[in-house]
């Protein structure tokens, strides 16, 4: 009986080993992608993979976490896409990205949003300080760029100290979208326009001059800048069809 189990186990091992080894010819590329672009990058990547003998893996986290992970060796990726300059600089400092390889193909906008059924209205930006709103969810300014931008906008308009006690932070943008969708009628969230889901409703579009320009930065990581397959995908991500897709998803595709 035991021996029979042993045999089955061995057989399974062999089969799984064969399954792993068989697609040895297809190149594999891992994209480390800021959460806010994750959905769109995936759509674009699938399209690319269909016409190329390539397999793409996606790692969607906040830009800071990805940068730290790659620098610390916990994450292996060929291309890094950050939602702000800060974390790309962090990568350059770490010698993982060459400055001249960094491009900024698209940008984004911040919106104040509420759950789809919320009757909340936001006439002016300063309404955020009113009593009708008792909770504002933003990204963690430390690691999530959309949080950093939100904080900067609030500071620049001089209401940060007033609204601070209403603030709750989340680690990344998908989490924020989900959390906001389940919130009550007195809660709003600040997130990228591209990350609004069908359970959310935009209330107010934030003036881009209140915070540094929201740009995405993309660069091949380490030695993969020399890899033809990586370069191929990297270039494709900056091509017109991709811009169209990004534009359709709400990104700002005008160059900086």
């Amino acid at each position: 009986m035991r021996c029979l189990l042993c045999r089955i186990y061995l057989l399974l091992l062999v089969i799984s080993a064969l399954l792993i080894i068989s697609p040895v010819h297809a190149a594999e590329i891992t994209l480390a992608v800021a959460n806010s672009t994750c959905k769109t990058i995936k759509a674009v990547g699938e399209q690319y993979a269909r016409s190329h003998n390539i397999k793409i893996h996606y790692l969607c986290k906040s830009s800071g976490l990805l940068a730290k992970g790659i620098r610390g060796g916990a994450i292996k990726a060929e291309i890094y896409i950050s939602a702000n300059r800060h974390w790309v600089d962090y990568m350059i400092e770490g010698g993982l990205v060459t400055a001249e390889n960094v491009t900024t193909p698209w940008g984004n906008r911040l919106v104040v949003s509420a759950p789809i059924n919320s009757p909340l209205r936001l006439q002016t930006w300063h309404d955020l300080t009113s009593e009708s709103i008792n909770s504002i969810i933003i990204g963690d300014p430390g690691t999530a760029p959309f949080g950093r931008y939100a904080k900067q906008a609030l500071q620049k308009t001089g209401i940060w100290e007033q609204v601070k006690q209403k603030i709750t932070t989340t680690k990344h943008i998908t989490l924020l979208a989900e959390k906001l969708a389940q919130s009550d009628n007195k809660t709003v969230g600040i997130l990228f326009a591209t990350n609004l889901t069908d359970r959310l409703r935009p209330l107010y579009s934030i003036d881009p001059s209140w915070h540094p320009a929201i740009r995405y930065f993309m660069a091949p990581v380490g030695q993969s800048a020399d890899n033809a397959e990586v370069t191929g995908l990297f270039n494709y991500l900056q091509s017109d069809p991709v811009f169209e897709t990004f534009k359709a998803a709400g990104f700002d595709v005008t160059s900086e």
């Binding site: 800071g64 933003i138 963690d140 300014p141 430390g142 690691t143 949080g147 904080k151 601070k164 006690q165 209403k166 603030i167 709750t168 932070t169 989340t170």
Partner: protein
């Protein structure tokens, strides 16, 4: 100085120095105790302070840990209001830590040299730590978690190790302080103890010295006085003594000299009177002794008849001491049962003749009234006036009681209080005479208790005795006053009903006695079942003298027992015949073994599955020379009662073993022979020996011999049965319970017995086809036996239906007329031979 002190009193000589030395010692001790108390109080303060410091330090350590945990929690919190809350907690913790911080040391002991006070360091470093953390917290509150975390890490790594180091150093210091104080306390206490001890020893020594000087002085003079007084006491009144001082000893010397003079004078006077007194006292002593030690109780009263003396025997008899009766009138002893006439006669006699004797009923101190024989004398002076009365008494209650008991014993049974055999006979004689005279009938009921012997043997005589008393009481309650009831031995009672009008009355009464005596007996917290068997004979029909009547009622009683006990039977002439026959059989049974009148028959037992012969049951037959064949159930009970059973049983076992040994030669399969054991045999202490010798003699192997006992036999004395059966089992004898299902069927008990086989009684087997209950009992018994690991033999299988039923329910072996009737040895041997070659015959 000592010389001068001689004129002071001894009290002064001793007390003054003792008091002053004691005072000095006391003052010294008080002083040192005070010093000790001061030191202890001072040290106690240090001790308590050290303890508080230690606890504070431990608290600080705990709170710092809490503070660190809180600050970390603040950093991981994403919600502002939660952060505010944590911030408050942090602030509170910080205040606790700062309040608990140790103050700079203020001790009476010296601080350990070379060690700077580091509690200031702790204070300073904590301040830096707190301000650093508050910056980090501020960042965290501004949602700059990254920066806050980096800062927190830096501050922690900078300060925490140092804080920990300082707190543990402080804890070590506090421990050090405490042990220092303890050492200081010890040394102060030790010093103090030494000083106090020194004062005590020197004071005590001085006291002893002074006491020694004074006492030596006094002793010296006292011994002189002693020698002098010894000479005086020896009668040397001329001895000389000088008074040398005025202290107590000097005064004593003077007083003694005066006393010596008085004694010398008195001695002369005494010498003269002594001689005359001695002769009087001698005489008085003899009288006093005679009075005091007399075996008879004696009493002396004065002329007013007031008690002035009693002797020891009086106290023993009445219980009164002299102090209780002195000065009282002897009337107080009167029990009130003596007639006034007796007292009148007594006084008259005393007046006339100075003497009276007679029986008086008096009362003891205990209240008990008792008879006594009194002899009283009046003693008069020469003028004829009464001086005193002297009386002596003998307690005659024992004699009276003995007379009464002898009377009772002669006529009554000691245990039950019923008539005994002797008085039964005399009362019956009168009753028979009366019946003859008045032409009436009499009934004699002979009652014997069933199971009495069992109860008596198993529960002890005490319980047996209680049972008899209870039976006697129940009997009395059933009878009229005029009826005679007696216990004539063991468990046998005789009742005589007099003046009968018709005999129906007797049956009714017998029935009543039967019911009454059969009710359960509650003795010694146990409930027992017993019942009577009653035999009845009637005068004049069944005999015209008491011997005849008793004998016939006895025979009728035996008949009642034979009828299954717990019933009553009238005597009939046929019973007499049966009784005589029984005696006859018993006599012939004793000779039958020697005359070789017994024979064993064998009935085959068939294996249900294979249909081979499994074994044979040996059954005994008695060929009586004149009566022909006698059934075992007729003679076995007689054999049991007359003890022939043991010899007969031994013969059967030996014969059966011999037979199975013979069959072993002709059969190709091993056969088993079953032999029935009677209850009496099972209880016999010769059983094991008998079986052992038979096995040895015929080389019987294990399983060849099976002994069958009835459930009832095993239950008669379960402990003994278990012992015997275990020993039989050890001998390799297979054991079977016969007639299973008819007796107690105690399963728990059955498990204790080392049995191999159950025999299913033929009464159940016989009715399998007709009675559903019997069929179920058979099934259940087979299942039960198999459950206990036993084989089952069904007895009395007579029809094919029975055989098929028993086969269906897995009964192991079958026995009965369907296969073969019991056969004599030769035919049984033939059957075995045939079956060995052709098993079909056995089916």
């Amino acid at each position: 100085m000592i010389g001068r002190m001689k004129n002071c009193s001894l009290y002064r000589q001793l007390i003054v120095p003792m008091f002053s030395i004691g005072l000095i010692s006391l003052l010294g001790t008080v002083y040192f105790s005070h010093m000790l108390k001061e030191s202890v109080a001072a040290l106690d303060t240090v001790y308590v302070e050290g303890d508080i410091r230690l606890r504070n330090l431990e608290e600080i350590e705990k709170q710092i840990t809490a503070y660190r945990a809180l600050s970390l929690r603040h950093l991981t919190t994403e919600n502002f209001s939660t952060m505010e809350q944590i911030n408050h907690e942090l602030e509170a913790t910080r205040i606790i830590i700062q309040d608990t911080l140790p103050k700079p040391k203020e001790t009476i002991t010296q601080p350990p040299s070379g060690q700077p006070d580091i509690s200031h360091d702790l204070d300073a470093i904590l301040q830096t730590y707190f301000s650093g953390i508050s910056v980090a917290i501020k960042l965290s509150s501004d949602f700059e978690k990254e920066a806050a975390f980096a800062m927190l890490t830096r501050i922690e790594s900078e300060h925490i190790p140092r804080i920990k180091e300082i707190t543990s150093q402080l804890i070590r210091n506090a421990f050090g302080d405490i042990s220092d104080s303890r050492r200081a306390l010890m040394s102060v206490a030790t010093d103090n103890l030494y000083s106090t001890t020194a004062i005590g020893i020197s004071g005590g020594g001085l006291l002893l010295f002074i006491a020694f000087i004074v006492i030596r002085n006094v002793t010296d003079r006292l011994s002189k006085l002693l020698i002098w007084s010894q000479r005086i006491s020896q009668g040397d009144y001329a001895a000389i003594l000088t008074q040398d001082s005025n202290d107590e000893v000097g005064q004593l010397t003077y007083a003694m000299m005066e006393m010596a003079q008085s004694i010398a004078d008195a001695n002369n006077r005494l010498e003269m009177s002594k001689r005359s007194a001695e002769s009087i006292a001698e005489t008085l002593k003899i009288y006093a002794n005679a009075f005091e030690n007399s075996g008879e109780a004696m009493l002396i009263t004065d002329r007013e008849n007031k008690i002035i003396n009693i002797n020891a025997a009086f106290t023993r008899q009445t219980g009164y001491e002299l102090s209780e009766v002195a000065g009282k009138n002897p009337r107080m002893l009167s029990g009130g049962d003596t007639s006034d006439d007796t007292y009148c006669e007594m006084w008259n006699n005393l007046k006339r003749e100075n003497f009276w004797q007679g029986e008086l009923w008096d009362r003891k101190k205990s209240g008990e009234i008792y008879p006594k024989w009194a002899a009283i004398s009046a003693i008069r002076d020469q003028q004829g006036e009464v001086l005193f009365y002297i009386a002596s008494f003998t307690d005659i209650s024992d004699r009276k009681a003995a007379e009464a008991r002898i009377e009772h014993l002669a006529h009554y049974d000691m245990l039950t209080g019923l008539l005994n055999r002797f008085s039964l006979e005399s009362r019956m004689e009168q009753a028979v005479l009366a019946a003859k005279r008045e032409n009436q009938q009499l009934a004699v009921l002979f009652v014997d208790l069933d199971r009495f012997k069992y109860i008596n043997d198993s529960m002890g005589h005490q319980v047996g005795d209680q049972l008899l008393i209870e039976v006697a009481n129940r009997l009395k309650s059933c009878l009229r006053e005029s009826d005679i009831v007696a216990r004539i031995g063991g468990d046998e009672f005789v009742i005589v009903l007099t003046a009968l009008k018709n005999t129906n009355q007797v049956a009714t009464l017998a029935e009543q006695i039967l019911t009454h005596l059969s009710e359960p007996y509650s003795l010694n917290e146990n409930i027992f079942e017993s019942s009577p068997s009653i035999g009845i004979s009637i005068y004049p029909n069944d005999g015209n003298n008491i011997d005849q009547l008793l004998k016939n009622s006895d025979i009728a009683m035996y008949h009642a027992k034979d009828q299954g006990r717990k019933n009553f039977q009238f005597f009939t002439s046929s019973l007499q015949v049966a009784s005589e026959e029984r005696i006859d059989l018993e006599h012939q049974l004793r000779n039958a073994l020697e005359l070789d009148q017994f024979e064993l028959y064998y009935q085959v037992q068939v294996n249900t599955q294979s249909r081979y012969i499994h074994g044979m049951e040996a059954l005994i037959r008695w060929h009586h020379p004149t009566r022909g064949f006698i059934r075992p159930d007729r003679f076995i009970p007689i054999a049991e009662e007359s003890n022939v059973i043991n010899d007969l049983g031994a013969w059967v076992i030996d014969r059966a073993c011999q037979q199975v040994a013979e069959w072993r030669q002709i059969s190709d399969k091993p056969l088993q022979i079953s032999v029935n054991l009677s209850a009496r045999q099972l209880q016999s202490n010769k059983l094991i020996e008998t079986v052992q010798s038979a096995i040895h003699k015929h080389q019987i192997t294990e399983g060849e011999l099976e002994l069958e006992i009835t459930e009832t036999a095993a239950m008669a004395d379960p402990e003994l049965a278990i012992r015997q059966l275990n020993r039989l089992s050890e001998l390799g004898v297979s054991l079977a319970i016969d007639d299973f299902g008819t007796g107690y069927s105690s399963l728990a008990y059955l498990k204790k017995l080392p049995i191999n086989t159950l025999k299913l009684d033929q009464t159940f087997v016989g009715d399998i086809e007709n009675d559903k209950n019997d069929a179920e009992i058979c099934m259940a018994t087979i299942a039960l036996a198999h459950n206990l690991g036993l084989k089952v033999v069904a007895e009395g299988v007579e029809t094919i239906e029975q055989r098929d039923f028993l086969t269906k329910y897995d009964c192991d072996y079958l026995q009965g007329y369907l296969f073969s009737k019991p056969l004599p040895s030769k035919e049984a041997t033939d059957l075995i031979k045939t079956c060995s070659t052709n098993q079909m015959v056995c089916l």
